[in-house]
Symmetry: C2
Subunit: 291 residues, 2 copies
């Protein structure tokens, strides 16, 4: 690394998952030391220290909160397991409100929702998708009361079986429109870059003001053996960040942009190096297409 | 295996890729010995023996030809490489016509087209998709004159970067409609099962008579390290074959149904065992939903 790297773009947020093995305190320190203005939190490191301490850490960091990842996993059939999930989502809404209030001005009270996969032995994709819709509808008034935006994250179809049955931006928007005007969507380049309907659906998302989060990382080939980890720094793979950034901008999104990379080599690298490389990759690929 | 397995469903076709290491002669023998009435050929084993000999083998087998896999790979920029690809596709059209004429009555002169991925270092997905459309438009009159149906195969978005930039059935139909009424599409459960638009797009494909091939295999998790090989016998994974088979049937498709499984363990198993297991899996999952 150069001694004086250019400071990160001020809309860039370091998502905790990019430095997955850092504690919340470490991750906030890394982001601040690298010059980031914003941070995307994950629930597990928050839970490790407890919400009260996490709130203190976020406040002390001086960083904005860009989102909290993640809740959801809504596809269990009716019963105790589903009820437990809904209760956990209510807690996640409270956590989001508390952490966003603790962040610097401009913090976003956005809770990222992953739909969940097919239950074990269940092949009824339509049914699983319906249960996700019902769960979001049930949580919507809770989120509204807490001032939290629920943001549905469409996941790449590679995850439809085992992680997320909401597979396209169009489907996420259908679902959001079904539930209510306050439900948002997450645009994660890794999940949506391939979609021939992306231009039309981003415009649609923009027209209804539903883009609640924009996350960036690249699609790398050959795929990693664990395909969930087949992500990389922007510019290292196949995604046209200029095109997607322009579309998201044209759709009216002007909030923080999270770099969220799941990749073993990146997790294994020193945190400060990762933060600096992510900022440089953003500067080279995304920033030139921002207003 | 039982001594007298039930004969395969008469609409079931054994695709050569399921017993990838067999020669064309071996594969035809395996299919016939197992009681199949139809066979899906691949170009490489045909090329190994030469087209004239392949024609003799197909005729001698008494089997129908359900399709020839595969041509396409249309995304190279203009130049010699692209011209070579188009020439190769013209040869593939001739091969399809010859092999279908050699097959038993009811053979289908269907050539499966895979769009191809992004050229090395190229991130312009829209441009690559346009070049695929242009190539198909150029080949359409050649295919028409030869009595061959060009069948565009949408590939799972996992392959958008490196294998197939046509990612959904809807996109394949857009492309087919752009080119002409005689262009078909391939419905491969592995590639399309996750698509929330599948019911609508299958109905659309049926209304314009464009379903040229129906291929079945299951989506297995966890994904294989080589995710291309993450397929399995129908019933072993997450796909709802009853639902998809009913939709394809309701869309008016009444042709052969190919079992096409890419999976290392299956390739490594004795061919006859694979042919029998595929037939049994079809009987259990697809056949009950056929008229």
């Amino acid at each position: 690394m150069s001694a004086h790297p250019r400071p990160p773009h001020q809309r860039l947020s370091l998502n905790q998952a990019t430095i997955k093995y850092a504690s919340l305190a470490e991750a906030l320190d890394v982001a601040r030391a690298a010059g980031y203005a914003s941070f995307g939190a994950w629930r597990e490191p928050v839970a490790e220290v407890g919400l009260a301490r996490a709130v203190e850490l976020v406040t002390a960091s001086g960083l904005r909160l860009s989102s909290l990842c993640r809740a959801g996993f809504f596809t269990a059939p009716p019963g105790a397991a589903r009820q437990a999930v809904l209760d956990d989502n209510r807690r996640a809404i409270d956590e989001t409100a508390a952490l966003a209030a603790a962040g610097a001005p401009g913090s976003r009270a956005v809770l990222v929702l992953v739909a969940g996969g097919l239950p074990e032995g269940d092949r009824d994709l339509v049914g699983a998708r319906s249960r996700a819709a019902e769960a979001i509808a049930e949580l919507a008034p809770v989120a509204r009361a807490a001032g939290v935006t629920l943001a549905i994250e469409p996941m790449h179809p590679i995850f439809a079986a085992d992680r997320g049955v909401v597979s396209t931006l169009g489907q996420a928007l259908d679902l959001a429109e079904l539930v209510g005007p306050e439900i948002g969507v997450v645009v994660d380049t890794y999940h949506v870059w391939w979609d021939p309907q992306l231009p039309a659906q981003l415009a649609r998302a923009g027209a209804s003001g539903r883009i609640a989060s924009f996350q960036v990382c690249d699609w790398m080939t050959p795929l990693s053996a664990d395909s969930l980890l087949s992500r990389g720094y922007m510019g290292d793979g196949h995604i046209d960040f200029a095109a997607i950034t322009r579309m998201v901008t044209d759709a009216g999104y002007d909030g923080d942009i999270e770099v969220e990379i799941f990749r073993q080599e990146i997790w294994d690298a020193p945190y400060a190096e990762v933060a600096a490389r992510a900022a440089a990759a953003f500067e080279a690929t995304v920033a030139p297409s921002l207003p």
